[in-house]
Symmetry: D2
Subunit: 341 residues, 4 copies
């Protein structure tokens, strides 16, 4: 029964705590911290947690009452608790991004390398989605040969106001593809380019350029085009198609009731992401807890994966300025992160 | 260039003549007859045919200006021209049904058997539909093993007034399945039963019992359920699924544009049969003409096939009275019709 | 935290206990009984349960250490613990069937009616399958109008030896449809008929007649054909199509990776049931536990539902003898079971 | 009955002549020319044409026995007969490309403009494919809003030796998309770029770089990525997806029999293009003939469309050298070609 210290009590924390309370096994939330103490109190009350209110990140991480740390606080505050957890030799699950700057990511990596062990799991939950896992397994088994090209769509029905900023399409949407693509293709990125197609006249946000196409090129030459669209209007959809030397593997359409009515054969499309990755969110956290309980080495997304995503997003945002191809350069991958999935 | 004598100038004649004029090759319509001469004149004018108006069925069939006969007249008038054509040793294409009574069908068969040759092709156009042909070929190749069960749907959007009669669902809709099923399963019918499920409250016709389920059982035991629905409301659809010893083969949904819109992934459904079998109508007639031009033995649906359909429909209509299982008994298949498809 | 007393430690008990231990919340297994005590000991050990070994069904049901009872023992032993649980006013989850005879089912119903409250939930897990639930909701919302006809397929790849008996196709396969169909159609059965199509020559079991078609007719006239096939050879598949007055709703194909390879566009099919209803098994039990914890009235499948299934199966097995239509007669539904879903 | 003079008797001529002889109406081939007279003689003999062997392109085009001209000769010989036909005020159907150089295309356009009338139809047969036409109609009706992005796949199973050259992927495959995309998007190209993803190790041709991604950008900003793959290994496939402001429209998978067998649900994929566009080839030529017979203004692909395709291909081939973005510049569209589809 692993004891969790939770940092940050916003929306994503609620998603995770709801899963912990209602679906996941082998853990209890024992300490909670938020910079706004009332948010922590409210969360404890809402889920009737038998948890203590911590006074600081440091106190929480180093509490004897905490075995592992969960970081759900604001994006730019992830580094401190992660570094503290590594120092305390405690497993830490952090929401994406690992950190908002490449420099911060490198600090975390240096700390893990120095400790000679992985402590960090980053919340790229798509890797735990059954459909993505089947896609990954199929490629790894060689059924389509080496992957050469890819085509992804990441479409929202309409943009929430929190997406009314061109950068956020990269930071909040594309970041998932930036993790998934190198995981599926087993290669590093060589460059990234963002292009803005004809703008959508139905886009309600003047400050949001939409849609966008991100083209990533990998070291061995594979090219993947990611179509990002905050204004699809027809629904929420995440698709991924990988074209290999002898075949294609792709995520299926989401499984919904087949209907014949109104002169159509159809199925409904999700309105937003809330249904699509329910299982993935549960499975990523259960996996983290199980590894903690068994004191096994973590196998989920690593700090290095988090670093790749942050660097790739930075380069994509840089490309947004002039649609240029931006090379992606990373230092050599440390021994600690060599083990392939 | 085969010379066609056309008998009957109603709706189905217009369909065929339009195909002959606009799409088919190797023929010309040289003589036309209708009991209402004006109908024949109008048809000649509409399609600008270089054709002569015949004064009688007999004159037309025996005209030196006619190589083959096409029978598109009222259902109960098919026998006379067919028998005349057989006597004149001319190929005759007749719309379904071959004849409206089993006795009349037997006369035609006796005439062909006496002549020692097939002259008749019955207009079961579905056998020329590419999708049905692929289904047939797949079964014949053994890909699904011996066929054991079947499930068909024959759905109209709403019934035209000409269907406002319970019998007509058999005579005009089921007759197609009554031909297709034994063709696909390569077996004779043992019995047929009609059942009336819960009636559709949206059915506009008090005198039409709708929907209906026809269950046919074959000599070797295969069972096929045919769901007939004149009030589907969602659209026109003809489906056929054959379950064999090691697999299933089925007609695909009709090929239509895939759309993502209005929170749905969908494609449209036909409103009526007018689009579904366009190609089949053209191909059945071209095949008849080609055989005539090459003076080859006919390979399309035979008089015996027409006889089976008429007998099976009769039994189905008998079953409509009390939903009883009605055995289907046929005399031995003459040598002339032994050659399989 | 509800305390569960478990009766019966065979295969299905392992499935449930594995779910309880690894996925479900709000319960602990406190007492275990099996007629073969070693089986109970082995199960306790395998799942490291902190549970006590009961000496009898009676001791278990009436233990202070038990809040609710789970019955996973042999089919013909369900009655005793269920009656005991009702008497003790404890909720009891029983695997299907409720009981193996109609008489025994009636005893259970009488006990519940006498107690004036539902205590029993029967393990018809399909009602908790998300796809079936979407199907049910769609019908209930009126999207396809009143349901008139249905078509179901329940196909196994090859029969396990435990299915080498013609009755078992009813008792183990059809029993699921016998529950689902009246739930979806909201009507009672009028009759049932089993027919045996042409036998499958690849069927390894001489004593198993396969395939079978069960036709159920409902009081308001709806007809549903259930195709049961223990020898599909292509894979395991459960499909259900409901045809209403203005549309069709059907379970989609199971969501699997789309592949283009080897000159095919395809997805794989399950080999057996083990993957298909994983979520349904978890959700039915979680629902039972949640109701127990909240001390709310049960809303899952009732004893009356179990009674319907047993009677319907009996009639179907009777029909297997001569393929006759067997009427289904039930006493009036007691007030206690009137509340519709 | 329009009289056709045919120039060039190679493979594509055989396709067209076979269609003319077996399927199309309202024409006869009266004159035939090939630089290798034996090829013309062989073709006349094979199809039993009642046609005269012409001695030169000029003689053929200006023969009183010729109403319209069909150009099926080598790509670099199209210009002469087209110009001659325009001068003779005869309709001319030419296989793609209109001409192999932009300069030659401009000559043709100048001749038509001078004549004040269109005489040329270019053989971009995809515009006559029913699926593409439904796609076009759907966009034009506004069902998906203004088109913003596109994604096309043009995949061959394995490259024939005639494709063992990197340029030919542009000249023989991409040329179809270069015509279709501006037709669908109703806009002119701004630029084109070719990129070479990771090479396919199963590609048999060292001199063929494969696969390729062509990115076209349109004046109003729409971006379309065309994935060209001569080595798909799984089959021949042409797909096109258009993403608009409020929805997506895409060509469906080709309609093939649905099969459940061998643990798969699947349908077969074509091996090569021979089946996919059969109907389109017939319809484009029938349309040309019908316009000639009715002496109506041509509505098929224009000389200007041919010019766009040649210029776009030239730019794409230039881009192949260094993967650069190559701007596409065209003179102003003459009045004659203004009428939108």
């Amino acid at each position: 029964m692993v004891k969790i210290g939770l940092i940050g009590c916003g929306a994503i924390a609620h998603t995770h705590v709801s899963n912990l309370v209602n679906h996941l096994k082998g853990e209890e939330i024992t300490e909670v911290f938020d910079v706004v103490p009332q948010a922590a109190k409210d969360l404890i009350k809402e889920y009737q947690l038998n948890a203590h209110l911590s006074e600081s990140v440091d106190a929480l991480v180093n509490s004897n009452n905490v075995d592992v740390v969960m970081v759900c606080s604001r994006n730019d505050t992830h580094v401190e608790p992660i570094l503290a957890a590594i120092q305390a030799h405690k497993y830490v699950f952090t929401e994406k991004p690992l950190a908002t700057t490449a420099a911060a990511c490198k600090k975390i990596i240096a700390a893990e390398v120095a400790a000679g062990q992985r402590f960090v799991q980053v919340g790229f939950m798509r890797r735990y989605d059954p459909a993505y896992q089947e896609l990954k397994a199929t490629i790894d088994q060689g059924l389509i040969g080496a992957p050469l090209m890819g085509y992804c769509r990441h479409f929202m029905t309409v943009p929430p106001t929190s997406y009314f900023k061109t950068e956020n399409t990269i930071n909040d949407s594309f970041i998932h593809e930036s993790d998934i693509i190198h995981w599926l293709f087993k290669d590093d990125y060589a460059s990234v380019q963002v292009q803005f197609p004809r703008p959508n006249s139905l886009n309600p946000a003047a400050e949001l350029k939409d849609p966008q196409i991100v083209t990533v090129k990998m070291k061995q030459g594979a090219i993947v085009n990611v179509y990002l669209n905050q204004n699809s209007h027809y629904g929420y959809e995440v698709r991924c198609q990988v074209i290999g030397e002898k075949g294609i593997a792709q995520l299926p359409e989401v499984n919904r009731l087949d209907l014949h009515a109104d002169r159509k054969i159809y199925h409904d499309v999700d309105y937003d992401w809330s249904n699509r990755f329910v299982e993935a969110y549960q499975r990523e956290l259960q996996d983290f807890i199980d590894h903690a309980n068994r004191q096994e080495a973590l196998t989920g997304p690593t700090a290095w994966d988090g670093y790749i995503a942050t660097v790739t997003s930075d380069c994509a945002i840089q490309s947004q300025k002039n649609e240029a191809v931006v090379p992606i350069e990373l230092p050599e991958r440390p021994e600690l992160y060599q083990t392939k999935e």
